[in-house]
Symmetry: C2
Subunit: 282 residues, 2 copies
C-alpha cells in the first residue's frame, strides 16, 4: 500500500495511472504535478487526484512512489528535479516508450545520491492523448515492461512490480537495450509505417480517401498519435528504429518483387506464412 503517490505529468498515461490507482485502492493519497494547474482541474474534479500542484518539489515531497508521466525527452530533465526533491525512501519510475535514455539518466544521478529507480513501460496507450483520453482500465490485463540493470535496487523492482500488478497489469522484466530493440519492432516501426502510409495516401491518393473502409482505418489509426511525443520517441530510439525499418524494407522488397513478377503461387505461399504468424499473436 502506497501512502502517497505522486504523478508528474497527468496526461493519457499519468491520468490513467491516477484513475486506476484510485479504482484499485492502491494509494492513500494521489498528487498530480503539472506545468499548468488548469489542466489538472479535470483530474481533481473526477476525484482521480487528491491534490494538484505546479510545484514539483512540494508535490514529490513525502511520496512513496513517484511516476514520471511526461514525454521521453522531458522525463530525464524532470527526473533530475525529482531526484533532488524526493525523500530517501521513495521509489521512482517512469512510463516512457524508450528506456535506455531514462535509465542512463537515473544511473548518472545515482552517483550523486542513492535513490531507488527502475524504468517502466506499459504496453498500452491510444492514438489520443491528454488527460481526457485517460482510462481507469487502461492497464487491465496489459503488459508492463520493467527494465532493471545490475545497478538497480531490488526494492525498486519489487515495489514498482507490485504497483503495476495492483492496477491489473502483468509485469515482465527486460534490460533497457533489449526493451528498446523490442519496442522498435513491435511499436515504433508500426507507428513509422502507419505515418508513412497515411502521408502517401494524403499526398498522392487523397481522391481515394472516400473509399476508406475498416482495413485502412485500422492500419492508419496510430497515424493520429501525438506528433511531439512520437517525434521524441523516433529520435531517442533512432538506431534501433532504423535497423527495424531496414528489415521492413527487405520484407516489402520481397513482396514487391513477387507482385512485379505476377507470381501468384509464390505470393500465396508467402502470405500464408505471414497469416499464420499474425494468427499466432495471442
Amino acid at each position: 500500500m502506497i501512502r502517497r503517490l505522486a504523478i508528474v505529468g497527468v496526461g493519457l498515461l499519468g491520468g490513467s495511472v491516477a484513475r486506476a490507482a484510485r479504482a484499485h485502492g492502491v494509494a492513500g493519497e494521489i498528487v498530480g504535478i503539472g506545468r499548468d494547474g488548469a489542466r489538472l482541474a479535470a483530474a481533481l474534479r473526477d476525484g482521480a487526484l487528491d491534490h494538484a500542484t505546479t510545484d514539483l518539489p512540494g508535490g514529490v515531497a513525502g511520496a512513496d512512489l513517484v511516476i514520471l508521466g511526461a514525454t521521453v525527452a522531458a522525463n530525464p530533465v524532470l527526473l533530475e528535479r525529482v531526484w533532488a526533491a524526493a525523500g530517501d525512501g521513495a521509489i521512482v519510475t517512469d512510463v516512457g516508450s524508450t528506456k535506455r535514455s531514462i535509465v542512463r539518466a537515473a544511473e548518472r544521478l545515482a552517483a550523486t545520491r542513492p535513490l531507488a529507480f527502475v524504468g517502466s513501460h506499459p504496453m498500452a496507450g491510444s492514438e489520443r492523448s491528454g488527460y481526457a483520453a485517460s482510462r481507469a482500465d487502461l492497464f487491465d490485463g496489459a503488459l508492463v515492461v520493467v527494465t532493471p540493470t545490475d545497478a538497480t535496487e531490488p526494492r525498486a523492482v519489487k515495489g514498482v512490480t507490485a504497483f503495476w500488478e495492483g492496477l491489473g497489469a502483468r509485469v515482465t522484466a527486460l534490460d533497457p537495450d533489449s526493451h528498446d530493440r523490442g519496442v522498435a519492432a513491435i511499436s515504433h516501426l508500426p507507428h513509422l509505417v502507419a505515418y508513412a502510409l497515411m502521408a502517401a495516401i494524403a499526398r498522392d491518393g487523397a481522391d481515394a480517401l472516400p473509399l476508406a473502409a475498416r482495413g485502412f482505418r485500422d492500419t492508419t489509426r496510430i497515424a493520429a498519435s501525438d506528433p511531439a511525443m512520437w517525434a521524441e520517441i523516433f529520435v531517442d530510439n533512432r538506431d534501433a528504429l532504423l535497423a527495424r525499418t531496414g528489415e521492413f524494407r527487405r520484407a516489402l522488397d520481397e513482396l514487391e518483387r513477387l507482385v512485379r513478377g505476377a507470381d501468384r503461387a509464390a505470393i500465396e505461399t508467402l502470405l500464408s506464412r505471414i497469416k499464420v504468424a499474425r494468427e499466432g499473436l495471442a
Copy 2:
C-alpha cells in the same frame, strides 16, 4: 423487388449478400451456387439461402439478379458460364476488389450476346473469410462502388444500385480504371504494407511479439487476410499497386531521413500534418 437472386460463391461477401438480402426482404428467393454442396449447408440451415446447388446453369436460370462472389481470378471464368446460362432480362454484377479485368471480360462477352452487367465493389470486408465470417449487417452504411463504362446498360446500373441501397449501403460510381487506382491506394497498398510489416517482425523481431499491444494488432490485422484472394488481387492490380508502393516508399524515405538526422522539430511538423489528414477521415 427481385424475385430470384442467384449468388455464385457463398463466402464472406456472397454469404453476407444472402443474409443482408434476407434481412432486408429485398429478394423473393435466394439461390446459392458453389462448387461444394456441403459448404453451402450452413447457409441453407441459417435460412440465408432457399436453395443451394453445385449446378451453375440451373442455379442461374430464372434469376433477375446474379452476383458473382468468387475471387477476382475466378469471377471472369464464372462470368462466361453465367453469360451463357442467364435469362435475357437478368442483371449481373460481381463483388471483386478489382474492376478492370471483370469489366473487360463482360465487354468481350457482350459482343456475343447482350446482357446487363455492371461491376460492384463493396468497401467492406474482414480479415476472416468464408461463409462463417459473413454478416447480415456487413453493408450497413458501407460504400459500394459501381463501375459503369460507356458500354454499360443503364438498367444494370439502376438495378444494381437499388439492390445495394436496399441492403443499407451507399453507392457511388467510378470508371473501372479510377476504381482500380483508388483501391490500390486505400486498400491494396495497406494490405501489402501490413503483410510486409508482419513478415518483418515475424522474421527479425519475433522475440518482441509478446510485447504487442493494440497499435501493432490493428496495424497488422489485415495481414491475416485470405492469402489466395489477396495474391490474386495483388497480381490483377499490380500496375496500380506498384505505383502506389512507390509513393509509399517516398513517404517512408522522407520520414526515415528526418529520423536519421534526429530532426525532432521537422518530424513533429510532418507528423502533425499526417495526424490532421488521418483525423480528416470521416
